[in-house]
């Protein structure tokens, strides 16, 4: 019998919703990790993964709504989630602070996601086990 010690994970998602399976695999992993008593200290969205934080994604009603499913999971378990600022700004994912700074017409980050720098990811690497979910393409 393998001896499983409780872990602290950081989940990094780099695959976009609706062009990769990464958001679903990552969510099922995260649910199973929490159910087994492990801690997820944060979720970090990088590259195309930042689209999960969009408040404006409207999939057809018979498809899963990955941004909503992710925000509900994060809120339920009070897990902080950040989208990398450089990845997010390049792809049009904007919070109110960046909207003011760049004088943009709108902001579109879905709560509880926030925008932060790669420093969050670097810090995660020093204190938790990082698991990455990439695009399969």
């Amino acid at each position: 019998m393998a001896d499983i010690s409780l872990q602290t994970y950081t989940v990094v998602i780099t695959g976009a919703p609706y062009s990769s399976q990464a958001p679903q695999t990552a969510l099922d992993f995260a649910r199973a990790a929490v159910a087994a008593g492990h801690q997820i200290d944060r979720v970090f969205l990088y590259g195309d993964g930042v689209h999960i934080a969009s408040a404006l994604i409207c999939p057809p009603s018979d498809e899963p709504h990955w941004p909503r499913l992710w925000s509900e999971f994060l809120a339920e378990h009070q897990i902080p989630a950040v989208a990398c600022v450089a990845s997010a700004l390049r792809r049009g994912l904007i919070d109110s602070g960046e909207q003011q700074r760049y004088e943009l017409s709108a902001h579109n980050i879905r709560a509880p996601f926030e925008i932060a720098g790669l420093g969050e990811w670097v810090e995660a690497g020093t204190c938790s086990k990082i698991i990455y979910f990439h695009s399969g393409a």
Binding site: G15, G47, G117
Partner: protein, 116 residues
């Protein structure tokens, strides 16, 4: 305790290599030990004489030139991939170590990470 960031996408046709470089520079900026591996088509980052002004992009080789200054500890390239893409030693930018990215090489790194 070194993190190896792997870039296996050719430059200009995809952004994931640039986002890999950002990861390496961030680690270095926070004094975390890191190195870069150019694998597969990623070795094309290392070719001298890139002139991407016609694409509206900056030369990735120029970005890489800053790697040592930022504190990235090493630039590795898959020797076989260099051969496949016609990258002779004199066509590769300075400071690159040619290796075989096998089990022995990878074991030396605490973490091995792709940007996407």
């Amino acid at each position: 305790m070194t993190t190896l960031i792997v870039i296996d996408q050719a430059p200009y046709g995809s952004w994931s290599g640039r986002e890999g470089l950002d990861m390496a520079f961030s680690l270095a900026a926070f004094d975390q030990s890191c190195a870069l591996l150019f694998n597969g088509a990623g070795v094309n980052w290392l070719r001298t004489g890139q002139q991407p002004d016609g694409l509206g992009q900056k030369s990735v080789a120029q970005n890489l030139g800053a790697a040592a200054i930022f504190g990235v500890e090493a630039l590795y390239a898959d020797a076989q991939a260099c051969q496949r893409y016609g990258l002779a030693n004199d066509a590769i930018i300075a400071g690159v170590t040619l290796i075989a990215p096998d089990q022995t090489f990878m074991t030396g790194f605490e973490k091995v990470t792709f940007a996407g």
